[in-house]
Subunit: 331 residues, 2 copies
Amino acid sequence: MTKPLNVTAVGSAIVDVIATVDDRFLLANSVAKGVMTLVDEHRAQTLHAALPRPKEIAGGSAANTMAGLASLGARGAFLGKVKHDRLGELFASDMSAIGVRYHTKKAEGGPGTGCCLIAVTPEGERSMSTYLGANLEFSESDLDGRDIEEAEVLYIEGYLWDAPLAREACLKAIAIAKHAGTKVAFTISDPFVAGRYRQDFLEMMSGRNFDILFANEEEAKSLFEVEAFDDALQRVHDWGGIGALTRSEKGCVIARDGEVHVIDAAPVARVVDTTGAGDQFAAGFLYGLTKGKPLSDCGRLGTIAAAEVISHLGARPETSLKPLAAQAGLL
Amino acid sequence: MTKPLNVTAVGSAIVDVIATVDDRFLLANSVAKGVMTLVDEHRAQTLHAALPRPKEIAGGSAANTMAGLASLGARGAFLGKVKHDRLGELFASDMSAIGVRYHTKKAEGGPGTGCCLIAVTPEGERSMSTYLGANLEFSESDLDGRDIEEAEVLYIEGYLWDAPLAREACLKAIAIAKHAGTKVAFTISDPFVAGRYRQDFLEMMSGRNFDILFANEEEAKSLFEVEAFDDALQRVHDWGGIGALTRSEKGCVIARDGEVHVIDAAPVARVVDTTGAGDQFAAGFLYGLTKGKPLSDCGRLGTIAAAEVISHLGARPETSLKPLAAQAGLL
């Protein structure tokens, strides 16, 4: 690596607020069971106040990936918007605690820091209410060109396409990256995101705005409107960039022009909570890529990081990933 | 297709002799539970006589594949040695009943027709005692050059490497095929076969004696002496021929220089008996290939044929495969 940073991510700055509740709580507070619902600030505040003994931890998809990268010993920066409020301070101090450069200016007014209120029922089901809040204010003026120029890879979260100003900022970030020789990686984030912005994503792919595409099986099928995994794989393969397609317990398939790797999932004693599997896969993969590892090793690093995070509650590693990667002979 | 036959196979001519027994039978008759053991003629006769109400059906790996091809509507021939005895007649009449050309001269003397004595215990476990018998006598003089020249594909069973004369005959058959523009497909048959004849198989691959290689995951790992599936896949991919690697419930991966397809297993309501899954996969795949289908469709045809055979007892299709393939839009 010749640049000071492995990865700079642009993503949602979200604080996860997790509490254990029963079904009656969901009914009494009108929370739809087992799905993710977008909510407004008033509803977020009411629900936050109602959750019993909530645990607050920094989250957000790309921010979780940066936590995984830091756990592997990589250097990185994060760009994403919080408000200057209690949750915003919590998010920022968590980022600096794990050693990720985070300088995005906090909003002084407007909507509060984004949060994801997670109600976990006894059988382990998660009912999520997401408030985007300050993330909707992230704009071009928040971009720090140096963070992007100094990174090997710029990593962008598809969720941001739901915030029009943030989408514009991402396009600008890509332009800066292209100019600076920074590779651009994009994660689709969600099958519905792929459905809503399909045309935009496909045009960006064919225009080679992305060099690396992350998608899970459902997202890839949704993006290309195909029913079989192999059909999605052929589309990614024909595209010509690096495609990293994740398949849960089936592992992952990595494709680059003329080269395809089929990597099995790393063993897990017990799957506790699959939240963050895709985020950590991206962390392992990007770590390998920015360290110049062969694609097959990048895929294996991804599966090792994903296996760690699904073996416990929460979307960030609990065990340092570096020794796990070393044990597998991948450092 | 421009040639009269889709596929000509060279393989073991075996009659399966199946009976339901209990554990006491296995102990009293010294049958090792759950594995395949090679036995001599005396032992085969004793065991055959002891099996209660045995059901006799034509078997043999490549012969099962020819049955699957016939079920799909393909034309084919089979080369393999039986003796002129009761089981030999049964094998030959079964082949002609399903419409497969079979003219190999029956041995008048020597060892009896090969058989596989299968003792099924109540939990569904199969304990197999295989007597190769007349198969050991198969030699160059049994080759019908016309059967090979008239076929699109010559399909060879790796099990024959355990019979030195048969192995020589296979090398001659390959030479005839190469001269006639007939593609050569080879199935490894068994991980132990791969282990015993690794060097020979690898040299034949690099000399491009094979155009198409069938192997399941264990066989491929054994052949290349690697631990990860992806490493075996890369070896097959680098080879340059068509590789069809089967992975049980994980489906299959098809590779040809610069092209890789990852095909899911076809759904099965209940797996009853996995015997013959690889044989029928090869049938579906070769059917597609000789009909000029794209590789991904060949793989799908293979998984559909395999799914049919594992949903019931026995290694040959019970349901006609042609309507199943038509239903999947693959004819």
